[in-house]
Amino acid sequence: MDPILVLRLPRLRYVQARTVEEAAAIVGSDGGRAMLIAGGTDLLPNLKRRQFDVATLVSLRGIPGWDAITGDPQAGMSLSAGATLDQVARHPAVLSGYRALAQAAGLVSTPQIRYMGTLGGNLMVDPRCNYYNQTFAWRKAVGFCLKKDGDICLVARSSPRCWAVSSSDTAPVAVAFAASVVLQGMAGTRRVRAAELYRDDGIDYTTRKRDEVITSVEFPAARTTTSAYWKLRRRGSFDFPIVGAAVVIWWEDGVVRDARGALSAVGSHPVDISSYLSSLRGVHPDERLIAELAAAADKPARPLDNTDLSHYWRKRMTRVFIERALRDAAGLDPQAGLLTAQLKS
């Protein structure tokens, strides 16, 4: 007899696609009741809690070349969406040229999850909220919310929109690197900038069309690049980010040519903070400048009371983590920064 799992999956049709075209055709023609599954580490627990109404799962794991990682930092790299987070975290070329990506992938949850979970899956992590990532019975008891089965946002009751939190570790890194995401659907293949993959909405959080499969993520050449990802979470394992700060610096002749950054877990999409970093251009930043920029760059961060710990504290920690990531990318001791999360006295 089957092992007994007390929280059961809904009854589903499970299809293993042999090609991307086949997967796209099934999800594109199933009236919105088919979902793609890669590692399943986010999807399956959510399904057990009935967070989606799904009739069919289309597995991508049997597609040839699904986990390939090619290229190098000199020319740019292409990471297949099915590369596991563990592969990404350990890949020598990723580690040397795209350190923030390796860091972010290596900080996702637990080793077991990283062996199963994929880069594409992590980019598409369903935005989280502790009014939403609950069992059906709990959500029913609380009265349901906008994101599923309900009509109000329980964290911001007067809000017309859903404030579920973008909780991907790799998404802000892809945004900060200005990576491109390759999507293949029934109508063909298109390429979008990572930032354009997301919408600032907890429900309608992606521009990916229903029939589209993320096939790969292309990272531009990173010859003179440094980068860092700093993740705030309660424990050293398991936890989703409650703040994530990704920073990428392009250097030229010892000064910054360009710097970009993005935040995780402070909004419903990866929050691009590159515009706050523009004054790094043309200088070799000292710690004072970094602290000044980091202190301002938390402005677009809007944590709400729907993840772990107090949102006031998370807001104050955002600038600390931006500073750590910037210092890390600039070769300074990340934890010896000038900013604090202390309350103003």
């Binding site: 007390v6 502790n130 709990w138 609380v142 424990r235 999360a341 202390q342 309350l343």
Partner: protein, 789 residues
Amino acid sequence: MSDELSIVGQSLVKPDAMGKVSGQTKFADDLMLPRMLFGRLLRSPYPHARIRRIDTSKATAIPGVLAVLTGEDLPVKFGILPVSQDEEALAREKVRYVGDPVAAVAATDEWIADEAIDRIEVEFEELPRYMSLEEALADGGGEPIHGRTNVHKAVALEFGDTEEAISGAAHQREDIVFFEGNTHLPMEQHAAVAQYGQDGRLTLWSSTQTPHYVHRALGKVLEMPMSRIRVIATPNGGGFGGKSDIFAHELVAAKLALVTGRPVKITLTREEVFYAHRGRHPVLMKVRTGFTKEGVITGMQFQSFLDGGGYGSYGVASTYYTGALQTTTYAIPRYRFEGARLFTNKPPCGPKRGHGTPQPRFALEVHLDKVAEELGIDPVNLRLRNLPEPDSRTVNWLRITSCGLRACIEKVAAESRFLEQRRAMPAGRGLGFAVSSYLSGAGTAIYWNEMPHSEVQLKVDRGGGVALLCGAIDIGQGSDHILAAIAAEVLGVSLDDIQLTTADTDLTPIDLGSYSSRVTFMAGNAARAAAEKVRAILFEAAAEALQCDPDDLQARDRRVFRRARPEDGMTFAQAVVAAEAKRGVVAASGSYTPPRIAGPYKGSGVGPSPAYSYSAAVVEVDCDARTGEVRVPQVWIAHDIGRAINPMLVVGQVEGSVYMALGEALMEEQTFRLGLHKFPSMLEYKSPTALEAPVIHTYLVETIDPEGPFGAKEAGQGPLLPVIPAVANAVYNAIGVRIDEIPITPDRVLKALAEKAKGRLPRVGPRRVPAFAFPALIQVERPPEWTQS
């Protein structure tokens, strides 16, 4: 050959270890019986509501649904304590927390059971909810949760005139602190399988710490003779107190098996485990103490307010426990305790590791740390000036036998170099110190009776095997090993020769259960008594064959031989053959009844124990003043174990206690929002991982208790107690702020630092206790030794 112990004192691998690590152990949820059905409970979505109507017809109509139950099918009330028979397996009139069971189904598979649960229609009338102590006590809040008031229990005891002792003292201090509730989080979810046989007998397999109490409750609620009910406790994948109550799913599985005639399994989901709860009470406390200028306690007044949740559970005992053990930890000449437990619309609280004592321990140890600073006495010395005496009686009549607290204190202080290092730590680092005591088994049973608390039967066979039968259940703490080790030691055989049968009410004599740190002490003593009787039978037969006096014989290494001439002897099996030829079956039983040592007052039944363990801890913290984050790199802990029957198991219990304590100190909290548990999941209820575990330096102090088996005392709970306040004291040492509220979260640390920066009291914590009319104080005569001084 020497009389040295050969098994007791050795770090041997426990008998269940290989089964656990190889996956062979059968937990309750692993049981699969032919034609088994799956049961599910429908639980209340409201924290407080009246049940207007239940319609089960749509559920019953689903093919594959074999039974649907409501409260009317199980109308007999129950509760773990005879004084709190306030629970129903399925609520009949009212629900009292989100998760309170209302109806149940049995179906051929879990999908059908889930569908059936969804089809049961319940009409509720919502009532005003009480989600905190303050709300429970507020006037005009509407209908109380039970009866006419939300006060479940209020007690007030005084031993000597405390007001005089405190107001006349050279130094006085009052503190108010809060300890948030938290839960056990065992890896194994609760599960039960019930089978009703053609012989008219009911069997329940359950992941329970207390099979005997479940047996009694089944008899009562099912209105069946206990002689027709068999309860088998399955190996517990962690208990920590969370499986020591009577649970709805156990009673419901049994009833569903009776109704359907087919085996029924109910395994709780993780979310349901949070609702089953019976965990740490949130407790608000006020402590006021007088001291001489030398730091000697003159008197203490202690108040506790327990947030009990929706039902009584162990709450009356929990309430007393918040007041009972202050006096076993320190010599307190006059003592007043006032405690109140309030009903709230949350899952019921009960016993979690340390039952009712971690909260007051936190209050007292933080309080003493502050007093030490005020008096200019170091924290270690202040404790040493207030130690209880071995072989003494406390002011509230608790009997202390062995007491290794001084040795524990001196050991951790020396090993951590506490006194030197606490002044020499780098920025953000600090050391904290605290001590504790705990019961080695409750001196009174849950229900009043004069029978033993633990019983063991032993039978030896011709091949040299030893069958040991005992009601004790191994919940991972190693009680199987303790029973086997004690019997093997006394009989001079190997651990492999002991065949254990435990926790089966058909086969095994009573053990009251794996709670209150009682099993090593009580079942161990029963095993020793039984083994000594069997040994006497064997020695008598062997002495006849060897033509010597039985008193000259020794049993060791599977032989029975003359102590003075070891070569003169026979194998253990030969001794059995000789004895069996002489008198038939070689068997004996042993039992243990704790001494009747409770004091002469109402409520004196909670607190007495045949012996107390002692612990002292030093915790090092690393506080980041810029983020408020607190990490614990190192813990030094010394524990007075009496004697370590298996040092490896004791160290395991100590380390587990430290780890659980750090979770409570820094992150775990059972909190509620909109009437619901905020995050009933293992991901979002934050408990530390292996990465948060510190380096733990454990030191065992042996005091060889006169009543413990081979001198042993408890290890399962006591070592948790000093760690939590030691963390708080270390945070103060590190960054100069007092977090008088558990858990110590980063935002609280920053809030306290902000207060400090403003020049205000550098503290976060409660400022007042509610106005509450405690009952008139019961003035209890102190034991003679205290009135003479």
